[in-house]
Symmetry: C2
Subunit: 405 residues, 2 copies
């Protein structure tokens, strides 16, 4: 069902960043469910984490530790270690302590990540038993295997890679993600890991992943639900022979930012494309807002409207539902007579009413496509925001009704 999502592109190795995959048999014997990532000494690590107040034990721990020296990222699937209280925190501490012991680093240098069922105790011994195999497997060439290793309900692995040259040096940015997560937070969650061999100070790196995630991971939505375990990490190993980026400016920073944002965007959009039950990939573009917040309010109201989502599933160019959603988005003093709405380039509503030039045939033609853009022009200012989402299909209800705790 994945919409416009093909096989993995080439994922260039990132010098100083190795990945190892192993099987702990958490849900099924033999399934690859543990991924260890090693960051070369001197790496900077930054991350953004779920804002859900019920954040899982590994998220609590990773948030505490990400500011310090980080050498390993330990991910397991099959169990989210969420809703597990104090014992869950201790379980996450134990797995990271064991990895630290095996590798001779401080326990605080290991960040844990978990995805899977909520509310069940983390199978600590199983995970510990798989760590040595994962370490033995470490290689810079393992991105594709890791992309598969972090999958849960995903139907396809997700990854993206960019390279650029600066002063004759090639810099690589490679990332992977998983997550039909917003659909099934019980079984899955949204995880992203992006690494570069550029050298970047932690504070610049933190701003970079915050801004990058903000334009990508934080702009995708399937049903508005947010997992307890969502994380997106950015690692800079510093192995490229270039000066350290310590400020958010200059040609190296600009090129790096572009590459990081593109990788973020690709792997974030891949999550939407692989949303279970998705038959359409929908871009909601809101222009002409007086500020960014009102663009987001309109965009999310449209993207979350079950009425619009079912119309998208049915390829129904239902301009009335779109206008009604814009109207209830809570934009203060909205002048509806200034609003235009376009469906993939076709003007369906003009000045707040059905466009006189619009024909059902035009609307049906664009709605028949797998990729649809809903563009809303508010006519109030210069701000824009873009959100990506899916339709709401029979399959969505089927998957989520039939999956049980």
């Amino acid at each position: 069902m994945a919409v416009g999502l093909g096989p993995l592109p080439t994922l260039h190795p990132v010098p100083g960043f190795e990945l190892g995959i192993a099987s702990a048999g958490i849900k099924r014997p033999g399934r690859k469910d543990v991924v260890v990532m090693r960051c070369a000494e001197g790496s900077s690590v930054a991350g953004v984490f779920t804002l859900n107040a019920f954040c899982a034990a590994p998220v609590i721990l990773s948030k505490q530790r990400v500011g310090g020296t980080v050498r390993y990222l330990l991910t397991n699937t099959g169990n989210a270690n969420a809703g597990t209280g104090e014992p869950g925190l201790q379980a996450a501490e134990r797995t990271t302590a064991r990895l630290a012991e095996l590798t001779g680093v401080d326990a605080s240098a290991v960040l844990p990540f978990s995805t899977g069922v909520i509310g069940e105790p983390l199978p600590v011994e199983k995970i510990e038993g798989a760590l040595q195999a994962a370490l033995d497997d470490l290689s810079v060439d393992n991105w594709a295997a890791a992309a598969t290793g972090i999958m849960t309900t995903d139907t396809l692995p997700k990854g993206a890679s960019r390279q650029f040259q600066i002063d004759g040096v090639t810099v690589t940015v490679t990332g992977i993600s998983k997550g039909a997560g917003m659909i099934r937070p019980n079984m899955a969650t949204m995880l992203g890991y992006i690494a570069t061999d550029a050298k970047v100070s932690q504070s610049v790196l933190q701003d970079l992943i915050r801004d990058g995630a903000n334009k990508s991971f934080n702009r995708i939505t399937i049903d508005g639900d947010t997992s307890t375990n969502d994380c997106c990490m950015l690692i800079a190993t510093g192995q490229a022979d270039l000066p350290e980026v310590t400020e958010a400016r200059g040609p190296l920073f600009d090129a790096l930012k572009k590459a990081v944002f593109e990788v973020c965007m690709d792997v974030a959009q891949a999550i939407v494309r692989d949303g279970e039950g998705a038959t359409k990939f929908v871009t909601v573009e809101v222009n002409g807002g007086a500020n960014h917040q009102e663009c987001l309010d309109v965009g999310y109201t449209v993207a979350h409207s079950p009425l619009i989502k079912t119309a998208l599933f049915a390829s129904d160019p239902n301009w009335g539902r779109i206008l009604a959603a814009v109207g209830r988005a809570g934009v203060p003093d909205l002048d509806v007579s200034k609003i235009d709405v376009f469906l993939s380039g076709v003007c369906i509503a003009s000045k707040g009413a059905r466009a006189s030039t619009y024909t059902e045939a035009q609307g049906s033609a664009v709605m028949a496509e797998e990729e649809i853009t809903i563009r809303i022009e508010l006519g109030r200012g210069d701000c824009s925001e873009t959100i990506w989402t899916t339709d709401l299909s029979h399959e969505y209800v089927k998957i989520n009704a039939e999956y049980r705790t």
Copy 2:
């Protein structure tokens, strides 16, 4: 599919309030689609209207006129007169002017209400042609016929009635509603008409319907979508031989408020029970909030979560999805360790984690019922809010995907 919604109860006539039903053939020849309501001279009329910025032409007109003398309410189904711009306003003015002409009142004494398809011109002549028949039909005994006359996609008529005695005088409050509206705003909308023979000043009446709607019509939600045409009106004819209520206190006011609120609640909940595709009637009760807004934020986040709604459809006691929704509701400094969640009396989550006493068998037993209460205890204060909603079924997607503009 209506959940726990039987035939209409006895709808007591309200002295001074007559209803007449006729057929204008707007969508189908012979279908009853025009309802005229006459308020006795001296009646007070108050109302609450959709907050959607794209409010329909009749809503614009009724909002302007409701403060003055009102003698007639004119409702048509089959056409919402929404998204119709200036010509739509003129069309609404014409139908009300014609009714005023036939009855010898000012045009401003007639309030128009429309529900049906969006974006098509109101068939003014058809409606005008049916007005005399509706006037000829006026009777205080026509509540049940009017409840049917305002239906669009509703499967059952909706009405409620209360009487109370004070100083030996019987006071009646009777109301009707329609609306699978939040599901199909293109075809339907939420309308409520409640009348009493008490004498009430306009300002007290306006506060009464605002507060009553706030606890009923504004607390029901099916999918979060709000129609362009929603209205709820309260009429006080003053025919009961009692002093005028001019202040929001005293035994008469208290008894009237109780009756009005109960009628509001019954007819509002009936809309949810008749929500198309609904198989469950769900009460979301949020207690222990520091303020009302955070209770509402939590309640609506739970009520709108497609993950929770599909779990309800599947009778799946999915406590993880409920906790995750509470966690992302945006409550500041939420201490998850204080949160308890109950499903129809069964504690499923305690102190932010799965309750130790909880068994799947308990959860499955309560989820098998048609009526389910999700009670969330925030443990932060004394505020409470209650919201009513439905599950999300295959049928919902089917109805909304197959209905076309």
